[in-house]
């Protein structure tokens, strides 16, 4: 277990009731955990709590605990206790995030990937070059872009941009990667490229992925959590959730009776 969400509730600023209620969810090491559920059930909210990106907008309320394993001493530490900016930065470099739409920075392909590395304080040009190349190879993008590393990243296709964003996150060697519907804006070919990539990546990192697409969840995830209206209804091995769910509601959702 690399992360453990315990009795977690979350209320947006100004909202009358919590968007997440008493969530308990483990994120297992080197596994892919899928979060599924109808739109508005709180999947993104939960994911965005796990690297505290919510804190860019003040006034939200957290309750409970989100524990993250410290790989140095193997202790679980509560990330909700973080207050200093430096600790936020360290947290976000350990828990990376990929968004629904590709978000290439307005700079070259090379700089997009080197950016986070430079933020980590790596200045040595040869090391940067090597880490950039590794990251690009790791996300199966190197062949396509090796001749135009200095071109603006916004000139890539949508699928390439999304793989660039993954490469950029992977380059930081995070412990956990959070994907929020990473393929919902992409064509089927790009989607399957990214699905393959995610499966390969779990050798190195633990992954949590929000998806709308049930087939995607069944194809790539090891564990699946089903959420509904801010509650976690059921969490289990993906096979179990899809073939033999314990809750009626889970079965109804998976069989397409609502959603």
């Amino acid at each position: 277990m690399i992360m453990h969400i315990k009795d977690f509730s979350f209320t947006y600023k100004g909202a009358s009731k919590p968007s997440l209620k008493n969530i308990n969810l483990p994120i297992l090491e080197n596994k892919v955990t899928a979060l599924i559920g109808p739109s508005g059930c709180g999947k993104s909210t939960l994911l965005r709590s796990m690297n505290r990106i919510h804190d860019l907008y003040p006034g939200n309320k957290y309750e409970g605990e989100i524990l993250l394993k410290n790989l140095q001493n193997q202790k679980m530490e509560n990330i909700l206790e973080i207050k200093k900016e430096n600790d936020f930065i360290a947290l976000r470099q350990r828990v990376g995030m990929i968004f629904q739409k590709p978000t290439p920075f307005p700079m070259s392909i090379y700089d997009n990937i080197a950016y986070g590395l430079k933020l980590q304080g790596i200045k040595d040009k040869t090391e940067l070059d090597k880490r950039v190349e590794d990251a690009l190879k790791g996300s199966a993008l190197f062949k396509e872009v090796k001749d135009r590393l200095n071109d603006d990243a916004r000139g890539l296709s949508g699928g390439q941009q999304q793989r660039l964003c993954i490469a950029r996150a992977v380059a930081l060697k995070p412990e956990v990667l959070l994907f929020d519907e990473p393929t919902s804006a992409l064509d089927p070919i790009s989607t399957s490229a990214i699905e393959e990539l995610i499966v390969e990546l779990k050798e190195e990192v633990s992954i949590a992925i929000v998806t709308h697409n049930m087939q995607q969840a069944s194809r790539i995830s090891d564990y699946t959590a089903f959420m509904y209206l801010g509650d976690l209804i059921e969490y289990d091995k993906t096979e179990t959730i899809f073939l033999n769910p314990k809750q009626q509601m889970t079965e109804d959702y998976i069989t397409g009776k609502f959603g």
Binding site: N51, I53, L56, P58, E85, I89, A90, R92, Q93, G96, M97, F99, Q100, K101, T103, F105, P106, M107, Y115, G116, L119, Q120, D151, D152, C165, R168, A169, L172
Partner: protein, 377 residues
Amino acid sequence: MESLFKRLSWISATTILLILTSIFVVLFLYAKPAIAEYGLKFLVDSRWGVEVSQPTKPQVSPSTKSSATKATPTTTPKDDNIAVNDEDIAVSDEDIAVNDEDIATDENVAVNDEDIAVSDEDIASQVPSSADEAITADDDIDIDETSKHTKVIYGGLVPIVGTILTTILAMFFAVPIAMGIAIFLSEIAPQSIAKPVGIAIELLAAIPSIIYGMWGLFYFGPLVASVFGGSSVSLLVASLVLAIMIIPFMASLTRDSMNTTPNVLKESAYAMGATKFEVIKDVVFPYAKKGIIGSMILALGRALGETMAVAFVIGGVFTFPKSLTDPTVSIPVVLANSFAESNGISLNVLFYLALILFIISFAVISFAKFYFLRDKK
């Protein structure tokens, strides 16, 4: 419908082009005599309205009319002399009137007729003599023109330098402050502050420039002079007033284009461990670059051509500023100050200056557009 739209857009595009061309052509035509007279040397000549004597050309005739047509610049001083002579005549007429009154008083005192006759004779003798004086004065002018031929030299260097200096200095002061305000409004301030401050800044941007000029003359100029010394109308005051005038404009345009940065793009930079400063520097600025540079170009254009705000506080003297706190002059100010009282070649000279301003603005803005906004492949 569609063809109508197409035609309308064609017409408006062509109209703009036509207007631009006609401005250029009119400026050029009116400037032409001055261009012919002073040539490109005008650009590097720092004398303005200086009379210089020239060796007389042999074919210049002594008659007033021909000299007036041949050497236009000399007409102005000659006209002045004539006017002065007319005044002299008027004065002597008054003298006559005074004499008449004297006569009247004399009558009251009942002095003899002979005396009156004498004073009448005096009057008679005075009138022709004053007319004679006027004639001789006219003759003097003719003699002046033929003996020491003078020419008024106009050079545009001082106002050109003044325009460029005020603009550069104003941009130098305005850009960092406007960027700071824009960053504060779009990235740092909470909504509850950013909204009202943003509206206040938009209001400032809408204040007519003459009000900045008046404020500069009566309040800001003396304040600057008391801090930095020197005159309360100076290059420094003009640049600062200009900067203050373009800051709100630049800041609100820059804020608007920074606000177009998608939240998710900023979030993904934060998610890589960037700080607020790094997100602004590496994501927001590059993303909004085109809009930001566009706002600077618009502000630059405004600063180059700004008249009223500058006219009040630059001093309007045709000397190079030796220090920031010296008064000088800029092209639009020369135009505004001298247009009403100019005619002949001095009017052509103003059009020459206007043409230069037009070309400078055009060149600077095209260069900025080309250089900063080209698409890097």
